[in-house]
Symmetry: C2
Subunit: 293 residues, 2 copies
């Protein structure tokens, strides 16, 4: 691999940021990595793991002279970060992010960025239920999609450079409209997380007696939900607030479908249940064929 950027600055360096930093280091995709985090404890971990050449708690300091700035914090920090880094950005710099909602990312960051700086919002569709810089790994993006959501007027050369970087991590890259991205992710990611959080909470609310049994017998389905429901609470709080409309729409559809099944169970309508349960097998097969299983 050859060098794609001279200096890359990470604002926020948790699971996703540190995985990208690891890959950049491993394959020599940049000459220098700067990492910025609010908490010194995070930066101590970054230093210990040798994920960056330089660390700082000051975003403006971090982005000075950087060719690429990767914002990898929870979404609610974006507006403040934009205001902080705007005046310090180098002319010609590319700014991107890795957040799970793209229209809010553009809304919160774009206004603070000066002319001569390209902002291209991005979203690597990959992750685990673990968080923090110690959880990252260089192979996280391999075989997964990264979605870039340039808008009218976005610099085509910047999009191309960013695409090269993500492809160098082993990711496949697709260009998408930001609003469309938010709708797709609402159904494939945000709603599943909301539902997993809910059912685990429902189980927890059943009281202490039943709870130990829920844990012992989790292998029968519940376990998969607990894995999803162990994801980072602050990141996910922000996702639901930032993608409120699309999430509420998908939730409405889900509730309608669930109510129909509930009705079929109450009335003993086995055929309705069997029809739905048979249909859903097809999508699993398609996912296996698409090598996303």
């Amino acid at each position: 691999m050859s060098i794609l950027f001279e200096r890359v600055a990470f604002i926020g360096i948790g699971l996703i940021g540190s995985s990208l930093a690891r890959r950049i280091r491993r394959d020599g995709l940049a000459r220098e990595i700067v990492a910025c985090a609010r908490r010194q404890a995070t930066l101590d971990t970054v230093i210990k793991l040798k994920l960056a050449d330089r660390v700082t708690t000051d975003p403006a300091d971090a982005v000075k002279g950087a060719d690429l700035v990767v914002i990898a914090t929870p979404l609610s920090a974006y507006a403040e970060i934009g205001a902080a880094i705007g005046p310090a950005l180098k002319k010609g710099a590319i700014v991107t992010d890795v957040g799970s909602v793209k229209s809010s990312a553009i809304r919160d960051l774009q206004p603070s960025l000066p002319e001569g700086v390209s902002f291209i919002a991005g979203h690597p569709v990959a992750g685990t239920e673990h968080s923090g810089p110690e959880s990252g790994f260089a192979e996280l993006f391999e075989g997964r999609w990264t979605i870039l959501t340039p808008v009218d007027g976005s610099d085509a050369a910047a999009v191309e450079r960013l695409q090269k970087l993500w492809e160098a991590t082993g990711s496949k890259v697709v260009i998408m409209d930001p609003e469309h991205h938010d709708k797709v992710l609402a159904i494939v990611s945000h709603l599943p997380h909301l539902i997993a959080y809910t059912i685990v909470d429902t189980a927890q609310n059943l009281g202490t007696d039943l709870q130990s049994e829920v844990i012992e017998f989790s292998a029968s389905g519940f376990r998969d939900f607990t894995r999803i429901a162990a994801s980072d609470p602050v990141m996910w709080r922000d996702v639901f607030l930032a993608n409120r409309e699309a999430v509420l729409e998908m939730l409405q559809r889900f509730t309608e479908d669930l109510t129909a099944l509930q009705r079929a169970i109450r009335r003993g309508e086995g055929d309705t249940l069997q029809d739905v349960f048979t249909r859903t097998r097809a999508i699993r097969r398609a996912i296996i064929e698409a090598k996303q299983a």
Copy 2:
């Protein structure tokens, strides 16, 4: 391992039945295995895989002279099977099952079984999303729980022999009241399956355009649901009909909790979301500690 039963008859031999048969063969836990299935195609697979010494499509024929009869069909077949095998059972035989609902199993089978035959309902809490005799494997039960639900008057010696068999498969055995079993399983297994089926169906109902994207980007949470929603449709239809009351009660609780989160999203109440998402992490940790993850 030593021989625990002379002759074991399986009525129904899919994922669970064939896994138990494989284990019995592998470790010599019985001298002879008889397999019964309604369809000849299933029996052809059983013969090809050498899972049984003898096969038949007639349940009464299958149980003749058997010391242990394992019913491993969907729940809706139980009453008919009970009526068919009752007159053919050997005095002293033990009858058990592997179904996911225990009060309906007892209700449907017990009345047809003659005196001198012990019925002990059972449920190995293990499985995969695959079905059919070709999907089984001898290690399926290792480290998992098997729940036995004897009732007042059940033969203690029969419970003990069954417990020995399940322990020989690598399973841990627990004795439970049938109604309590059905309640616990409603939350750890039946409701998660219902929800997974629903969300996959919701995604499918979005229309063709979005559907290909749902498949491509499934890695972000949706994928885990599709795995669960690929489980056997007939088996699950029967589970929901047989455990209707407990499932509807858990579903009601889930819907209340989901509505509360929906309200928090609509009102932008981030603290409520973060509180729930933080709580749910604890149960994941407990599952990992219980070695069920």
